[in-house]
Amino acid sequence: MKRLIISSILIFSIASFSVALAEDDKLSGEVSATGTLTSVGGNKAKFNEYRDVRDGVYGDVKLKYESEQNYVDLNAQDMGYDTQRYSIRGGMWGDFKFDLNYDELPHNITYDAKTFYSGAGSANLTYPTHPPSTDTNTWNTFDYSTKRKNLSGGFQVDTLKPFFFDVSASSEKKAGIYPLGVAGTTPGGIDIELPAPIDYRTDSVNMAAGYIRNPLRLSLGYTYGSFSNSNLNLNFRNPATANTASATDTFTMPPDNHYYKVNLLGSLRLPYNSKLDMKLATGSSKSDANLLTSYVADVPGGLRNIALSKPNFNGQIDSRNLAMSLTSKPFTFLDGRLFVKYDETENKSDQITITDPTQSPSAFTNPLFDYRKVKIGGELGFRLPAKFYLNTTYSYGTINRKRDDIPENRDYTYGAELKWKGLDFMAARIGYERLDRKADFNTPGGGTSDIEYFIRRFDAARKYQDTYKASLDFFLMENLNFSLGYRYKETNYPDTTLGLTGERHDEFYVDADYLIGEWIRLFAFFDYERIRQDQFQRQTASTVDPTLPPTSTSFNWTAFQKDESYGYTIGADIFIIKGKLTLRLQHSYLESNGSVDYTYLLGGNPLPAGRTQDNIDISNLDDYKLRYYLIKLTYNVTKDSSVAVGYAYEKYIYDDAQYNGYQYVPGTSGTNGAYLTGAYSDPSYESHVVFVTVSYRF
């Protein structure tokens, strides 16, 4: 299929160029080839997470044809590699445009993963004898990796101006193996990592037609999308159940779905330098699935039957959106905007009542979630004396959602930003924004005997959020730019007893670029970020009230998580022979340090055996360091040809408490047990890449 697509594109492009060349017009282009030699130690999948760097020759071709009437551009990149991309763009000036594209996008996760299952990547995972072997040397190896192959195209008609018509379509296939985890039994028990198949196809079509000529724009758009999954269920033999030989367990995969949306867009220019814009949209997404009437359990026959009020599920969520905006700049010193935004989903999916005698209550129904969001607001900008500019904003929003705990929010947001460009060599900016979110909490019927009474989920909880930002841009000399900025965001959840109680986010960055004479361009940037998230939680088997004195089994605890990261790049372009020979030297460094400071709030009760308030902490949570060096020499042999040689070194070191000491089978039963496959483990790598690029322009 891929060859067919590539061949089609090439034949089409050659035909286009042939026709074009017959008119004896301008043809230009560039052909380049890059040869690489690589040496990668460690995790090759992480090194090539979104790329395909390996020994070989990469070819890029750009062809551009232009005549007085029409044009065609062909681009081919990384031909034959996992990141190959091809595109043809063309058209007749002022009449129509077209484009046809094919590209591939790999996502490599883990190579040489291991599983005791046969059929990794298929919808049926099994193993010959129970229990499965825990000797990983006998296991099957496979790669966790997916690849998207996307074919798309579009056509825009302008020949009937001021009327226009656009159509585009795409078809994407995604295939590979992806790690999924399941609980062997539930509640409790082991977990099992499954090499699951990814075999998706997503198609979409977009159309828009309308009229656009000052002062009016009106257009109607239509989008249709469909998603199909070749594997709606993943069947696997479950090593956690005694009846594993007689019953196959099933994991439900994403269902097929389709989606459409219609939108009406309008704009009208008004007097006083004003403009009214409007968007009205309605859409619907639908899915369907045949439901399972049993599940695997430790019962005779291995299957526990359940009763369903309906054997299949038909999902439908409709959406309606309205957005209106009035912008105006009636005076040179004043501009403003008023806006309304309304987004609504309506869940019309089936509600299925499931009867499972082992559950309490035995009959239960899937709740249907949907929401309605309204936001209105405005901003006013004032051009003040001495080259100050003040922008003020205010908005009020409500969210109504079908959710038991917090069904409604009211958001009040206001802010101001002051900019100053009073000096030729400097621009400054300071800003502040405050979000005050009010939340209606449904007090549970059980009062303080229900833990829900104390929980406020952060996505909807009452909160105050303050954001401060400042930046300075210097243009000290014609060839020297220097920028620095700082942003601080603090969020507090005043009503939260259990859950996320606060967040702090600091961000600082510097960027500089300096051209010294005509010989050296120096560039550098540095960024620093620190995120702190505080949680107050309760571990309990019975007593849920966190205000009660702690016992050894019912107590509160806190976790202060910190993510600190910084990175910098320094480099220089040295123009050894101006326009002829250039040397680039570059070094980048990135470091992340994550930690969690835990505290048991046990009062006078002792901590569990062996634990202290210090040795429970985690000092390495997604810690990593990335070092990168590049040296590249480019020689322009002639005006149209160049040669570049270079060397790149990259070292990535990952250190994480949750992956260090990785075990494929840490246990075969209980909540310490698991059958893992190595997904995401040990991604550290070190690489050396030598490359030579030869380019020719014509």
Binding site: T293, D370, Q533, N615, D622
Partner: protein, 309 residues
């Protein structure tokens, strides 16, 4: 009858708004006094003239292009006074380099491009509000696609420095690898919603590429349905899958209950830890070791309800 009269009044009101705009636009068509022609410009500004020639602005086949108007002077204004004074600054030419007012610069471009559907909503663009003019990203004289000054994401990250830092993090969308573009998600010329995303909601945007997450599912996870950004960041994270923090801590922000969700998982629950139970809630992918269908599912009974099937 009363309804008809209301409609008529509304129509007349709209007409009264439209007519002045049309009159103004016709009036702005202007006269052609003071123009000297591109050949005159070429005499002194040969490099700029040649770069103009390779740009789309020099295409006569494009209706309304500068090539069909006053060439260089379409954008830079009539050059007669400039020529008569022997050139140099302060001679009445419009310079995009020296003009500090972003609106004035952009209005030069919009005088021709305002009927382009790609920039219909420039008036709503955060770029406009923040004083960014067209020439910050586009070069009038460039031969690159869309006359851009650089490729994405370098073009965008030159100003969006904090986003650049995020794109460099270990978990990121493949922008720096050149396999995605900022403009796949953001409408750089303006949109109705916040962050100028190319969709009515965040989830609608994400589903364009992650259609398997669209459902609709029988078992929904409400925060997921409402906003993907409850758990994910869009540009880059230290945590795999662009998560805002690491499971189980991420999940425990919301899930504290009398069973295992509320249990403290510490250094003792890692692979190297000596805990006697509950470790598989902490090591490797934490909660996701079991709850893989966290975006929603169709599983049976409580297995489906708790996203483990």
């Amino acid at each position: 009858m009363k309804k008809n009269r209301t409609l008529l009044l509304a129509f007349l009101f709209l007409l009264s708004l439209v007519i002045p705009s049309v009159v103004i636009s016709l009036r702005d068509a202007g006269s052609n006094d003071g123009y000297v022609g591109a050949e005159t410009c070429r005499g002194c500004h040969k490099d700029r003239y040649e770069s103009y020639l390779i740009s789309n602005h020099a295409k006569k086949a494009i209706p309304g292009s500068p090539a069909n108007k006053y060439a260089c002077e379409t954008c830079h204004g009539p050059g007669m006074a400039h020529v008569q004074k022997g050139g140099g600054r302060g001679t009445g030419m419009f310079s995009f380099v020296n003009q500090p007012d972003a609106d004035q610069k952009s209005s030069r471009c919009l005088s021709c491009h305002q009927d382009s559907r790609a920039i219909s909503f420039w008036n709503m663009s955060r770029h406009k509000v923040n004083g960014i003019s067209c020439d910050k990203c586009h070069s009038i004289h460039s031969g690159m696609t869309k006359n851009l000054r650089a490729r994405e994401p370098a073009l965008c990250s030159a100003c969006h420095l904090s986003i650049r830092a995020q794109l460099n993090k270990q978990s990121h969308h493949p922008l720096k690898e050149g396999l995605m573009k900022c403009t796949q998600c953001h409408a750089q010329h303006g949109e109705f919603g916040s962050k100028m995303i190319k969709a009515d909601t965040v989830n609608e945007l994400c589903y364009k590429c992650h259609a398997e997450k669209r459902g609709p599912f029988m078992w929904q996870h409400p925060p997921v349905e409402e906003n993907c950004l409850t758990c994910h960041v869009p540009h880059g994270s230290n945590h795999t899958k662009l998560l805002t923090s690491r499971p189980p801590l991420l999940c425990q922000k919301c899930h504290d209950a009398t069973q295992h969700p509320g249990n403290i998982c510490t250094n003792f629950e890692t692979f190297k830890g000596s805990a006697i139970s509950g470790k598989n809630r902490m090591f490797a992918r934490g909660c996701l070791n079991c709850h893989s269908n966290i975006h929603g599912g169709m599983g049976p009974s409580t297995r489906g309800q708790h996203f483990v099937r």
